[in-house]
């Protein structure tokens, strides 16, 4: 081997090592705290009457969106820990969550400092249950011809997520081609009237639950979506992350159907809201 070969070999190695890895954060501080995605006044659907029955598609399976001629979207959900508000009565309390010691201490530290270090406050996408806890709502778009469901989110950086129903397998976590993402890789199937979704391949650049429940790249979520009546989405998720929790655990909440725009005006559409990463001028504005 000539000197030129060795030099070239070394240069390539050095270049490779200096390249930014695909999962390195690109975020910089932006507007922090509760100002990001704060709901407008008067959202919701007005006075509640008895709910209509669960809408269904022509083939009989549950429609998780607005039926033909209808409008509306899903509002923000509760917590998968504790039993307050719209949280499920079967949820564990914080003390019952099977944290690893480091994860428990980190969660407590995050609760103590509040939202100041929450990546979502810097407009990073909200993976996991956090998707359904953000203001501005979300919507399911079924594409049977493509055998997938898209969930679009009006909050945060206005993002979306695919759930594949074509029977493909989940990627293996040790697959070298797997690039971890905020929303992971999701495959789903209908079990009766419940959409069951398995997801893996998450990065570690976000908090998967409001308040900062920790997770690692080993996170595997099994989500169960059902619509017991027109106005209610029931969301239940099993968290399996052996690096952060000593065993899998389950929690969930219900989400209300929203007939109006987010500000309470007529329409029932997710409004245009943009939270942009790398926004640097907000703190200097007077």
């Amino acid at each position: 081997m000539t000197r030129a070969w060795v030099t070239a070999f070394g240069a390539i190695a050095l270049f490779w090592s200096l390249l930014p890895a695909p999962t390195i954060a690109q975020d910089t501080p932006g507007p922090a705290g509760r100002g990001v995605g704060t709901p407008g006044p008067g959202r919701g659907r007005g006075a509640r009457g008895p709910s209509k029955p669960t809408p269904r598609w022509a083939d009989g399976h549950v429609n998780l969106g607005a039926p033909a001629g209808g409008s509306g979207f899903w509002g923000g959900g509760g917590s998968i820990v504790g039993k307050r508000g719209s949280s499920l009565p079967t949820n564990p309390e914080v003390g019952e969550v099977p944290f690893q010691p480091w994860a428990k201490a980190l969660y407590e530290a995050r609760l103590k400092v509040g939202d100041k270090d929450d990546p979502h406050a810097r407009c990073l996408p909200p993976g996991g249950p956090r998707q359904f806890q953000t203001p501005n709502g979300f919507e399911f778009i079924e594409q049977p011809e493509r055998k997938r469901i898209t969930i679009i989110f009006g909050g945060g950086p206005r993002s979306w997520r695919f759930i594949y129903l074509d029977g493909r397998p989940l990627p293996k976590l040790d697959d070298l081609d797997l690039i971890p993402t905020y929303f992971g890789y999701s495959t789903g199937r209908w079990e009766g009237d419940t959409l069951v979704v398995d997801s893996t391949g998450y990065n570690e650049k976000f908090w998967f639950h409001r308040g900062g429940l920790p997770h690692t790249d080993a996170l595997h979520l099994t989500e169960r979506f059902s619509r017991p009546d027109y106005d209610t989405l029931k969301y239940e998720v099993t968290v399996d992350d052996p690096k952060a929790y000593t065993k899998p655990w389950t929690g969930g909440f219900t989400v209300p159907w929203t007939y109006t725009n987010w500000d309470g005006s007529p329409g029932g559409e997710i409004h245009e809201y943009l939270c942009q990463d790398n926004e640097r001028d907000y703190s200097r504005l007077r």
Partner: protein, 157 residues
Amino acid sequence: MSAITHVCGEHVTSQSPNPKTQITRVAFAIALLVVSGVSRTFVAHAQEGHPLVGTWHGTWGPNATDRHDVTLVLEFDGKAIAGMMNPGLDAVRFDKITLEPSTWSVRFEATPKQAAGKATPIVIDAKIEDVTNRRRSLVGTFTQGTSKGDFKASRDD
């Protein structure tokens, strides 16, 4: 055998190195590739997961002017924290890393071999500061044999 090459307009005469030198260079290049690949794998890890995981850069030294650069590359498999210091040809793999989450105290222990073959243990005792921040810090002391100094490193973003 020799060759004349043009490098930036200059004539450079090179001679083929002897086989022993060639083997050394190839080994060096392979080592560089392996180390860069390993460090790249580590760098791609956590931001908001286990608070120690990832790459940390900092210095240690006995005073403000006598400083030594330190890079830590750490990982967590769900049970134990492992990693190395100063990845590269002089990398030192830690024998043991212990974290006490109630105080965020960390102890790193290594036993690198010196050129003469004598081992000089390294102990870093530090505390994670601002643990919820993605640019958190490790602050403490660094001891290697009879040398001791303060230590500070920050988590790469």
